[in-house]
């Protein structure tokens, strides 16, 4: 790892690729290897975790929104037996709208605090996307750790196939986090961010939500993993496609 040193007086800054070994006049923004890229993404992630713990805005917004909707839904239909398709849809509606209330913070915060330019200078677009994506994924998974058991308890859910249920939740959240992160980057540069975030995300996420609801429904009714295999495949491939598309387009949003 090259050591960062201040330039000696009178010495011209060298191009990084022809610099003497061990001395880097300035750090290149473009990572040289995948490992370095991941390390930088991890640094962005750590930064986001730290600043989130200072305000706890996103965590509070998501958690309170989730619990509020859950209680509202529970009051309305918890006592009545509702069919499995309705239960699966309600679960994903709660997850989707809770996600929409907090996942845009990663980028909106940078714009509001006017730190986006500094971050643009400090890290490559890929590292920023990676770090922010990881942060949103962690946020979403911790939300689900709380919300899913609560939902199961309050709505008297009988889950027949837990492996399928967990796989569907994992793949669904990954796709949700990927899409929401890129849309958050777009929204952070627009006006009326809050409303726009849900509006822009919904049509793009619809195929994913349909697959997730269908897979959850299969997990409620059948113990076999194969019952929801097709939906699981859809979720995984959709997440993959969105991830690749976001790698391609993120540069154009971020460096704008």
């Amino acid at each position: 790892m090259p050591v960062e040193t201040d330039l000696e007086p009178g010495r011209r800054p060298a191009r990084p690729d022809v610099a003497e070994p061990g001395i880097s006049p300035y750090r290149s923004l473009t990572p040289r290897s995948t490992v370095e890229m991941l390390a930088r993404a991890a640094a962005v992630f750590r930064k986001d975790i730290t600043s989130e713990f200072r305000t706890r805005y996103a965590v509070n917004a998501i958690a309170l929104f989730a619990v509020t909707t859950l209680v509202a839904v529970g009051f309305a239909v918890g006592g009545v037996g509702i069919s499995q398709p309705v239960q699966a849809s309600l679960l994903w509606i709660v997850i989707y709208f809770s996600a929409m209330s907090g996942l845009s913070r990663v980028f909106v915060r940078e714009e509001e605090a006017r730190t986006a330019s500094a971050l643009r200078l400090a890290a490559a677009p890929g590292a920023v996307l990676g770090g922010k994506l990881l942060f949103n994924l962690v946020l979403l998974v911790s939300l689900e750790v709380v919300i899913v058991p609560l939902f199961v308890g309050m709505m008297h859910l009988e889950v027949s196939g837990w492996p399928l249920m967990l796989a569907t939740l994992a793949a669904g959240s990954a796709g949700l986090a990927v899409t929401a992160t890129v849309v958050a980057a777009i929204v952070s540069k627009a006006n009326a961010k809050g409303a726009l975030f849900a509006v822009l995300s919904f049509p793009i996420l619809l195929p994913l939500l349909v697959g997730a609801i269908h897979g959850t429904q299969a997990a409620l009714s059948s113990a076999r993993f194969a019952a929801g295999m097709q939906d699981f495949k859809l979720l995984v491939s959709y997440t993959g496609v969105m991830f690749i598309v976001s790698l391609f387009v993120f540069r154009f949003i971020w460096e704008d």
């Binding site: 627009a190 006006n191 195929p207 097709q230 154009f252």
Partner: protein, 212 residues
Amino acid sequence: MFLKILLGIWMAGVIVAAFLVTPPGGRDFLDPDSARIIIFHVPNAVVAVTAFFVAMLYAVKYLRGRDLRDDAKSAISAELGLVFAALAIVTGSLFARMQWGSWWNWDPRETGMVVLLLVYAAYFALRSAVDGADRRASLSAVYGIMAIAPMLFLTLVLPRVVFSLHPPTAVAYPKAQRLVLVPAMLGFLGLYLWLFRIRTAVAEVRLKLKRY
């Protein structure tokens, strides 16, 4: 000018032929006359998807060349796509009421069309919410490109996994029907191109005026 008049006569001919030349549908149809709607329904749907595809191509072109004229073309094509998609949905819904007894059946193709409508409605919501022409252009171009993913899943994957009331795309229409359907396709495509050229000319003049 000459092309415009030709297009007008052509479309008038298509409309007349739809009722006089097209044979009524077979015994599968509750009302055989209702089958004639494909002369209007299918071209609208095809042109709508083509227009969205063109919008996407111009979005890519904008991101490569940063020419605001490409952004304007992308937006115009998306706008026209919305109009044709709405017409395809309305004609399809009319036929669904006649044939299947309900205005709306949550058929995968119906759903796909509505999601496309939602995607591009969101696209225009985004455009109206961004200040600055360059920023608006690049953000909406990115969103237009991201819309490929749902478009592919809804048009290629979903109709093959879920049962659809629609005939498969490769269905061979009867020859007498094709006799009108193909000219109708060309007519609607011409209509799209004509509208596209008018709007583009206006947008280019606007961009030039802004520069001075």
